[in-house]
Amino acid sequence: MPNSGIDALLSVNNLTRLGQGLAVTLKLSIISIAISLALGLIYGIAMTTKNKLLYGLLKLYLEAFRVIPLLVWLFLLFFGGARAFGADTDGFTASVIVFSMWGTVEMGDIIRGAVQSIPACQRLSAEALGMTKARIYRHVIIPQAVRRFTPAAINLVTRMIKTSSLAVFVGVTEILRVGKQIIEFNMMKNPMASFWIYAFIFVVYFIICYPVSRLSKRLEAKWEY
């Protein structure tokens, strides 16, 4: 039987290494997502400010991440930062910083949109009941904002998981880099390895992101009113 090359994937050693790579991918994603959620909440609420200067600065920060490729940010911090400031950040830390800075503005923008989409009369009719500002937020504004926020936020989570693969360019041994190493190691004796390994990574990403994406759709339908 001719060698299909699948044994590059099926070797226990390689699967273990891919598993370790996946763990790094997930660790990188989860840390970045957690930071983005926390800082995004602050950033998003700050975005509703009436102070034009503050708003301008926050908006500039947002646009900087929208228009400049994330990879450029990553290189700037990882290579440029090391040269300019002698900051010896490792690839993982640099990736967490850049992904979190990006995630914060995207998450913040979603939060801002959700809060501002609640009609003013909702606040007014709650005020007319004699509720305090804090209670109006807790019982009227936030529950409605969360319903509008969650589907978009989950969507962002899948994008962040996918984007974590950029860390491969700054030497982080996440799943994609492990795959490349295995392929390069097998280059001579098993040219088909690249197909099997990348197909495997393809499926792994699908298995992680698809359910998350489905969840977002379901919540969207459930909370429609």
Binding site: L124, S125, A126, A128, L129, G130, T132, V140, Q144, Y225
Partner: protein, 254 residues
């Protein structure tokens, strides 16, 4: 239920003196004096833009005022007086657009204020909410969400939501204005019922027949001032001012 029987007419529940309200440079209310007695039903009429909705919103502080005082049971409202959050627990308001909370059931909508603003006991609020819902014929809809209700039903729920706070004064701001004609009646009937029970009400409306039937007194506003104030019967029969005559004439066809 906190709804006081129409009793001593001399008891002033609301007294407005020299009220002024400006938006930017524009004067919307220009010196309004108004006294409402306990148990009285006062209907505010006037052309659109005359300041009647703004007047209502000033009474419960949803709009700030720039001059004059508002006394509620003799106590000044707002800065230096009774805090607005407390005043609003005694002054209920119903809006044109119902503004029920869409993420809550009918029952939760009604119970939110009593539980979260007044911090009353759940059992007691629940019993009252059911009784009030029953009174407007909607107790079977208590677990529905606002989206499942018609406009008239939503507005009746909004009235119940305000009533469940046991207000001493109710403000109604064109509550039938965005309803389909066939639903106007069911809402006005609820308000008539309240009037009969002695609820003190300050009502802004364009429903002339309702005003005739329900009002003790008509307050006719024009260009930010009270142009005429009369007994309801007198106002419709023989308005004293030219402006009121012109306004009433717009409702009749020859």
């Amino acid at each position: 239920m906190g709804i006081l029987a129409r009793g001593d007419d001399s008891v002033e529940i609301l007294k407005i003196k020299g009220l002024k309200k400006t938006y930017g440079g524009k004067t919307v209310i220009n010196g309004v004096d108004l006294t409402i007695s306990r148990g009285e039903v006062a209907v505010v009429l006037g052309p659109s833009g005359c300041g009647k909705t703004t007047l209502l919103k000033c009474v419960n502080g949803l709009e700030s005022h720039q001059g004059g005082v508002i006394l509620f049971n003799g106590q000044p409202l707002g800065e230096g007086g009774l805090k607005w959050t407390l005043a609003r627990q005694k002054i209920g308001m119903v809006f044109q657009s119902y503004d029920l909370f869409p993420h809550m059931t009918v029952l939760s909508n009604v119970m939110l204020g009593p539980l979260r603003a007044q911090k009353r006991a759940k059992d007691e609020v629940y019993a009252q909410a059911l009784e009030l819902l029953d009174r407007v014929g909607l107790s079977d809809r208590r677990d529905d969400y606002p989206r499942q209700l018609s406009g008239g039903q939503k507005q009746r729920i909004a009235i119940v939501r305000a009533l469940c706070m046991n207000p001493e004064l109710m403000l109604f701001d064109e509550v039938t204005a965005s309803l389909d004609p066939e639903m106007v009646r069911e809402v006005l009937d609820v308000m008539m019922g309240l009037a009969k029970r002695g609820m003190t009400m300050l009502i802004v409306t364009h429903e002339m027949e309702f005003a005739k039937a329900a009002a003790d007194r008509i307050i006719f506003m024009d260009e930010g001032v009270i142009a005429e104030e009369s007994e309801a019967g007198d106002f419709f029969k023989s308005p004293r001012t030219e402006r009121a005559k012109r306004f009433l004439n717009t409702f009749y066809f020859d």
